[in-house]
Subunit: 322 residues, 2 copies
């Protein structure tokens, strides 16, 4: 059995020197730069941990882990275009550094490489792994479209929002875990349990993201607090406030959408959030999904000590302050 | 054995009503609109004809045919962004009609659907079909990057150009044919022969595209003649002229790159083309690749009459005036 840092080291050892390479340097330099700067590698690590949980052969799982990390980074490269984002993980985005056309093509090539690596999954589990991956991939793209559609709407419900972040964020964590379980030949009931663990963990993770953007400590989060408020983003916080607001509060929130003074805008929204106890409500729902995730993990019928690395990663995500 | 129009009808019957569907309407409306407006469907038809040539089961080939057509249309949706193109096949492009973000996501979803349909290829030939498709897909993206890189260079050779159009255009025709051959369980030598038939046909096809843009008859081609010249595009024509030009002609061509009067620009370039017999040279090389393609077809060891539909499609592409 491996612990979290051993699994991460195993993944890194296998792929740190694995340059994706086909075609002109102008295409592969940004790809390998993106992969080298790929942050916490949570998805491949979850996949490998799930495989190890059920005593699978990690060598069978490495290509799938690599594939899911490439796919995730592909979505970020394209998302950064859609958000016109300049910075990702403290570095210029591909879009910013290389321009629109290059960023589109870099993403397309990574999408393809994700599939190419998935094709290397062992034959005995190939079809189930592909099915799980494809479903998640379609949901992620649907989630991104929902996110874009929501920007133009004023009547988004909290439930619609939860569905959107489930698609956009949670299903890939869930699918990574399920793929690891499939590769270790766990039965379908266990696959379902670990999938749900990932789904609930992902929801907690994404709502925590919203939470930190407004209630985090600036120096820890590493970006300006209140960015979502300034961009009029319909986050869990904002939607909950909007849905619970009385007429006066609704009017205040609506007026603040067009407020140009940044301090007044942030303070104004925060004041409504305070009246409606949005901070406390959000902490509660994060805890709710986190508890659900841990419960899903409990129901898996392997020795409790084998679950330690997954419990640790959940705890790490739960306690993060940035 | 099926003829060309029977094969096309078979494909249409199977897929005209096959709506791609997953997620919000705002994502799937442009996808299905793109697929419905997908022109001559040359690639799926080639795939099915190749399968039929070797007496394969067309039902085994239909999903691969659909996949390759979705993939091709995905590349067009993203290419249209990169070219900032407003019109494709007489309709507004996805980029123009729905905007940048939507066009990126629509392309990504189609890319995914192409893979999802490929996964339905029968198990006996799955691995070879995927390998052929993946290689072509990587080459297509590399070709698009080369095309973009060439725009910034002044020293592109004709051979580099031929490699670029081979990647960007030919390999998908070649791969379509080879996939059809694989699905009908043809041996590797025959697979190679039909692949080369497609490769040479594709080169003839793409150079003909360059040719028609400058020497075609405007009303037949359906767009303004000389567009490539006005956009300073480094086509086969321009690169051949540039490589054969004497000092004075080179100077003329270089000056014309910044000429703003459209008529003077086109006439000036055409006059150098005339001095260097670019029209005749281009006709010759198109014929050269067309002959090579027909030769590749001849070497395939099936009864000659079975080759008629493929010979007809080659002839159709060769004789087209638009």
């Amino acid at each position: 059995m491996y612990n979290l840092s051993e699994i991460t080291a195993l993944y890194d050892e296998r792929f740190n020197k694995n340059q994706l390479n086909f075609g002109p340097e102008s295409l592969y330099e940004p790809i390998n730069q993106t992969m080298a700067n790929s942050g916490k590698r949570i998805r491949p690590v979850l996949l490998l941990l799930a495989c190890d949980l059920f005593k699978g052969n990690l060598n069978d799982a490495l290509n799938a882990a690599f594939a899911i990390e490439i796919f995730h980074n592909f979505t970020l490269v394209h998302d950064d275009i859609m958000d016109a984002a300049d910075i990702r993980r403290n570095k210029p985005t591909v879009y910013k550094q290389y321009g629109l056309n290059s960023a589109i093509l870099v993403g397309d090539a990574m999408h393809l490489h994700a599939f190419n690596n998935l094709l290397k999954v062992p034959a005995f589990c190939f079809s189930e792994v592909m099915k799980t991956f494809s479903t998640a991939a379609l949901e992620i793209i649907a989630g991104q479209q929902m996110d874009m559609d929501f920007e133009k709407r004023n009547d988004v419900t909290v439930n619609e929002y939860l569905k959107m972040i489930e698609y956009k964020t949670s299903v890939l964590l869930a699918a990574a875990l399920k793929m690891g379980a499939i590769i270790s030949d766990a039965n379908t009931q266990e696959q379902e349990r670990i999938y749900n663990f990932g789904l609930n963990l992902g929801l907690a993770f994404q709502i925590k993201d919203d939470y930190l953007d407004t209630f985090g400590e600036g120096e820890k989060v590493g970006k300006k607090i209140g960015g979502d408020i300034l961009r009029n983003k319909k986050t869990y916080l904002w939607l909950t406030a909007w849905n619970q607001a009385n007429e006066a509060q609704k009017q205040t929130l609506e007026n603040l959408l067009s407020e140009t003074n940044e301090t007044q805008k942030i303070d104004g929204v925060l004041s409504v959030f305070k009246e409606l106890k949005i901070k406390e409500q959000t902490e509660k729902i994060i805890q709710h999904y986190y508890d659900l995730a841990l419960h899903n993990l409990e129901t898996i019928t392997v020795k409790d000590e084998r679950k330690t690395p997954l419990r640790n990663i959940a705890l790490m995500l739960q306690q993060r302050e940035y």
